[in-house]
Amino acid sequence: MKPRHEISNHLRRHRLMADGMTQQELADRVGVTRQTILSIEKGKYNPSVGLALRLALTFGVAVDELFEIEKGL
């Protein structure tokens, strides 16, 4: 069986570190809805490369600081 790769993210941590930015504020900055930010933070949705880059740019970090891949069984 192929190993499953789960993607985890640190979006919430970076958002709260950015002066407690709200989900709505972040959503407005990157041009999506608050529900999208919420779904990413909960790990329900993996964003496209474009959105991941926009999120990373907003926080001034590299994409792999926001998202990382976890090897599972």
Binding site: T33, R34, L38, S39
Partner: protein, 244 residues
């Protein structure tokens, strides 16, 4: 947007408002002339068609994915039921006496599956199930109150039997979703008999199917969501509260 809509985490776009207006207008005018049903079609499917042509760009990538997933779910469910029906009809000397009802049944099945799947994507299984139960309870409440307006005792008893269980289940779904799911399955079986779906010969096959989709569909779908879905809505609610 107003606070009640914020509580629902629902911010309708201009497209949604126009589409909803068309659907409501179409449904209101349909009894006058069924041609007005075209308005319902435009409101329901129009925005999706415009988006597919690239003429309307009002959804972000998560919303687009949810809509496409819901469309795929609607295709699977409606297609599967259509195959079953064709097999049933062709396996004997059976025919459908009410083709309009059959078409309405498939439309209802398509729209219901699409709508419920979209809600699941947005709210998750637990919250979708809870809100479905509250809507169901409220609908039964309204019906029983209007039906027994001149008899307060009968009204109270019927509200207790018909509406209160749904509110109770909605409350239970927050604390013990799996227990609520099992009870909901039991309630669905009760309604199956209560609505006379298994023994009714007066109602045609398509009409029975329509009643099943509209009345039992939300209950069974909520039960399945509660039994099989992940339950992490509490975390989401805390987050919503924090962002206000």
């Amino acid at each position: 947007m107003s606070q009640p809509l914020d509580r629902l985490q629902w911010r309708p776009s201009l497209t949604t408002l126009i589409a909803s207006g068309l659907v409501i207008l179409g449904l209101l005018l349909a009894p006058v002339n069924w041609g007005f049903l075209v308005l319902v079609a435009l409101g329901t499917l129009g925005p999706g068609i415009l988006r597919e042509f690239g003429w309307l760009r009002d959804k972000d990538e998560f919303q687009q994915r949810a809509a496409r997933r819901a469309g795929f779910h609607a295709y699977l469910v409606t297609g599967f039921i259509a195959f079953l029906l064709v097999a049933y009809l062709r396996s004997g000397e059976r025919d459908i006496k009410d083709p309009e009802e059959l078409a309405t049944f498939f439309l209802a099945l398509l729209c219901f599956t699409w709508f419920f799947s979209t809600l699941l994507s947005y709210w998750g299984p637990q919250k979708t199930a809870r809100r479905t139960l509250v809507v169901f309870g409220s609908a039964w409440f309204l019906v029983t109150v209007l039906d027994n307006f001149d008899d307060p005792v009968a009204m109270f008893m019927q509200v207790l039997v018909m509406a209160a269980p749904f509110f109770g289940l909605a409350f239970l779904a927050r604390k013990w979703p799996r227990v609520a799911g099992v009870l909901l399955i039991a309630a669905s079986v009760f309604y199956l008999f209560y609505l006379g779906m298994l023994r009714s010969s007066a109602m045609g096959l398509a009409t029975r199917g329509l009643v099943l989709v509209l009345f039992l569909g939300p209950l069974v779908a909520s039960a399945v969501a509660l039994l099989l879905g992940p339950h992490a809505d509490g975390q989401e609610e805390q987050e919503v509260a924090r962002t206000k």
